[in-house]
Amino acid sequence: MSAYVFRRAAQSVFILLGVTLVTFMLLFALPADPARMIAGRSATAETVDRIRVELGLNQPLLVQYGRYLTRLARGDLGRSYAQKVEVEALLASRLEATFWLMLGGIFFELLIGLPAGALAAVRRRGAFDRSVMLGAFVGTSAPQFVVGLLLLYLLAYKWPLFPLGGYGSIAHLILPAVTLGIAGGGWYARMMRSAMLDVIHQDYVRTARAKGASEVRVVTRHALRNALLPVVSMVGLDFGTFMGGVVVVESVFGWPGIGQLAWQAIQIVDIPVIMGVVLVSATAILLGNLLADLVYPLLDPKIRYG
């Protein structure tokens, strides 16, 4: 197993290199000039040119990428063009908040989705099943901005049960995490339900039942275990995507996450910050998928990695 992890880590390094290269090239394919954005509106052409030279943006693309890689190897992510602050500091200031929101979001997604999906599978075609299905669609179709704003308005403004956005305590985390939970919970509920249904009606489960194991044990042991496989994949995916930032929820709740940083950086083409965020986000995605892959054998012993 450790050989497998080692191999994955090595592969991840290559992937990260590839992602940084492609992103770098794309950023330069953008019809936007970072030097001009820094120089602002009243700058003369000379000022813009001088800024460009200072930032090294007049060098050929591969030279710039080479310099970026050498600095990256030293652990230097560069400085933001706009804020002149070190990119590491910017990322570090946002990572903790992003991490907690990721945890909270996944927690509520599972809390809302898994029991609903499991119960819906067991009571198939009943009223509960149909309302879970409806709820899943409403939750995933509703725009996150609207859900978040509505929750804030009702639960923090009209009835001050929670703080009006911001960051600092568990109380601040609840509403944004619930917003993510509503948006994602429907997926978990539906996947859980369909994966369990697929298993519940399989012959071996019927055999187990015929052999006299109690209904509950049958459901929990065989069906749940197998249904958790796609759920684990989805948690791995959520880990990666949430760590990359969820700009809408962060904006509405004033949550200082990486999503806001990325969005602002893209507007002004702040290349070092964009590269930094892409690096963090890509690492998180690779990590999330790796963790999910490591969990599969625990759920289904027949899955083995060579």
Binding site: L26, F137, H201, I285
Partner: protein
Amino acid sequence: MGGAVGNVSNCVVILVDTERAVTARQHPSAPGARAAPASRTWPVRRPPALWARLIRSPAALLGMLVIGLVVALALSAPWVAPYNPAEQFFDGLTLEGRPLPPSGRFWFGTDLLGRDLLSRLIHGARVSLLIGVAANAAALAIGTLVGTAAGYFRGWTAAVFMRFTDMMMAFPALILAIALAAILRPSLWIVALVIGMVNWVWIARVVYSQVLAISGREFIDAARALGVPTPRIFWRHLFPHLLPTLLVWGTLGISTTVMFEAALSFLGVGVRPPTPSWGGTINESQSYFLEAPWLVAFPGAAILLTSLAFNLVGDALRDALDPTLRGRR
């Protein structure tokens, strides 16, 4: 559909196929057998009876009706819509520039430029259906292929495919979209392409995990041992187990894909203003939601109803294709 007997020592491993399932179940000594109603004849191949089965379900009928309605509206939009969707009425806004709530003149109210919302929704059905259904289906197809191949063949194939998937997932699609917006002439096909290129990764991961599990089961080993060609294994034995997952992603995915299209159009990649789309209307009116809720509620309801309709039909389709559920209601 596929089903395998778990306990090898007690029973003969039976390779299940639609036809064989029939014979196995009709044999009283086979485990899991049920008395087949004598009066019914089981159809052997699907097409004609599938429709019959679908129509029997009221939920599916409802779904098909809604889909048919939406498609009809989309196709006949220029004739059905009460007004020109791009026309900004001078009196479509209040004196202070606020949109009008639903009234006798504007059934769904007006948007932030004084345009009739109902007309915009009807015309918007084209974009949203095309993207929500077609692009989504494309992403689904690609993702399923990649995930299945990786999960079934494992080893090097899995490593290459899944690492490629990881890379596509790690790649910042937003920046790609902005770059495309400036370079190419914006059109719906680019949106469909970007969505197809970006969205398949999620389904690939989920399908991969499921195929990993399913392909470990005995009936697959047996099939391989019996020399069943791989495409047939995919189609006959793996795919039926993946169908529920695909249905979930295909139907829930409609709304996320529609909103993705709205985001891409916002960046300039997709439809150009003033072309309406459901997601686009929501996107531009979100912050006005507390003051003018109809601007989010009506397009949101349209998206919701469409995905629900597809879901109802999809569920019925899945039931109809799954012989183990026949007779259970």
